[in-house]
């Protein structure tokens, strides 16, 4: 479960980077900017939510390493 979630967190961070980069253009299209702006704000909210709630899953292996095999 966390693998999928975390992947999309990374994907969301990457998407946000892209949105920011889009706004870095010298003469971006103003009409398109409205849509991009909304997308950016939604991403920020989603990322914040994820960061607040995600926890690590720690599993101690049953395998023993004090003997060969």
């Amino acid at each position: 479960m966390s693998k999928k979630n975390d992947e999309s967190l990374q994907a969301q961070l990457a998407q946000l980077d892209q949105v920011v980069a889009w706004f870095d253009q010298e003469d971006f299209d103003v009409e398109q900017a409205l849509g991009k702006y909304e997308q950016g704000i939604e991403l920020v909210a989603a990322i914040e939510e994820r960061l607040k709630t995600l926890e690590n899953k720690v599993e101690v292996l049953k395998k023993r390493f004090d003997q060969a095999g």
Binding site: S2, K3, N5, D6, E7, L9, Q10, L13, L16, D17, V19, V20, F23, D24, D27, F28, V30, A33, K36, Y37, G40, I41, V44, I47, E48, R50, L51, T53, L54, E55, N56, K57, V58, E59, V60, L61, K63, F65, D66, A68
Partner: protein
């Protein structure tokens, strides 16, 4: 009472059985002397102190750290009488003890592995930026393990951490660490990063991290490695061979993942940036329009003025051509009897006796042509 005699071989076997029963494992400390390796496989040396000396035997594969004469070592061994009646210790594990010997052994192995290029910078791989899966090798009873997981959890979430619980000091610890490294590397779904942590300890405690097979196992790991061993002194060979070295287990967690609070701040800054840029773009667009407007106004005005000028010019021209004005200055307009103006071409049709109309300034006169002559 007389005993039944037994054979020599039986005697050796009996003594060995007795030894095994009485002294199954010995841990002996002493100084190495007459160290030699035969056929690249068998290691022989004497273990001695001021008064006594014992022969020791082991294979090179069991020798995990370099030895040389004069080194103080601790061996874990089984006493044995050989078939030819020589008493020796069959060594299972040997490691240098005391600062001087540890240091010497460390230097010897370091030089050897360095020559092989195991510590070269270009062997170092970067760690994944945001790993999903982590293979953690540690003792779950250690403070280092708890520190690592605590810091990891406070900084980042959503990871799967598989923990290989191993002993990180004492007899067999190095071998356990090697097995754990190899275990993670043989998995079908390997973790993205391998982390080895161990809290601080004395030089003796940490000697396990100068173990040659362990150093080689980490060097051979297909998974990038991060090592966080708390040291009071110097670095270990495992530190040198790992892709990334952290100073402590907590530091390893800090290196492995970004702080989510930092990411949160970055994300908020990004959101603000987007807004600022959007506003700026709109402002610039407005400025551009405002800049163009006077130009547009000016060019429109100029065009109107030009149009007006040209109309006035034409009007003046027309005025000079107005026939009424011409008549006013004394000229007359000649028309045929039916009132058509006589053109240059029409003049040639006029003949004697024709009736014409002559328009003056104020009057129109009917006139007869009395003669016609060419000019």
């Amino acid at each position: 009472m007389e005993k039944t005699p037994i054979s020599v071989s039986e005697t050796v076997a009996l003594i060995n059985q007795t030894l095994e029963y009485a002294l199954p494992v010995l841990m002996v400390e002493g100084e190495v002397a007459s160290f030699k390796v035969n056929q690249g496989k068998y290691v022989f040396f004497d273990l001695k102190d001021e008064e006594s000396s014992l022969g020791c035997f082991m294979t090179v594969w069991q020798l995990r750290m370099p030895l040389e004469d004069g080194m103080k070592v601790r061996v874990v061994a089984t006493p044995k009488l050989t078939a030819w009646g020589k008493f020796s210790l069959t060594v299972r594990e040997v490691r240098p003890v005391g600062e001087g010997s540890l240091k010497r052994s460390f230097e010897l192995l370091k030089a050897k592995l360095e020559k092989e290029g195991l510590f070269d910078e270009d062997r170092k791989r970067p760690l994944p930026r945001l790993p999903h899966s982590v293979g953690l090798i540690a003792s779950t009873e250690s403070a280092g393990y708890v520190d690592f997981l605590t810091i990891l959890g406070s900084r980042w979430g959503g990871m799967e951490v598989s923990v290989a619980h191993v002993q990180v000091q004492g007899v067999g610890a190095a071998e356990q660490l090697v097995r754990a490294v190899e275990y993670f590397n043989t998995l079908d779904e390997r973790p993205e990063v391998l982390v080895v942590v161990r809290g601080g300890g004395s030089a003796d405690d940490l000697a396990v991290f100068n173990d040659e097979p362990l150093v080689r196992a980490i060097a051979a790991s297909k998974i990038p490695t991060l090592v966080g061993i708390g040291h009071e002194v110097d670095v270990s060979l495992v530190d040198l061979v790992a892709d990334v070295r952290a100073a402590t287990p907590s530091n390893a967690a800090e290196i492995l993942v970004p702080d989510k609070r930092e990411i949160m701040t970055n994300v908020q800054v990004a959101a603000k940036d987007i807004g600022v840029r959007f506003d700026r773009r709109l402002e610039r667009l407005h400025d551009e329009l405002m800049q163009i407007k006077p130009e547009l106004d000016r060019s429109l005005k100029q065009r109107l003025i030009r149009l007006h000028d040209s109309v006035m010019q034409k009007r003046r021209l027309l005025e000079t051509l107005n026939p009424v004005r011409v008549l006013k200055s004394g000229y007359a307009l000649l028309r045929t009897a039916d009132g058509k103006p006589v053109s240059t071409k029409g003049q040639s049709a006029i003949k004697k006796g024709d009736e014409l109309k002559l328009e003056l300034n104020k009057r129109i006169l009917g006139v007869g042509v009395t003669y016609v002559e060419e000019k």
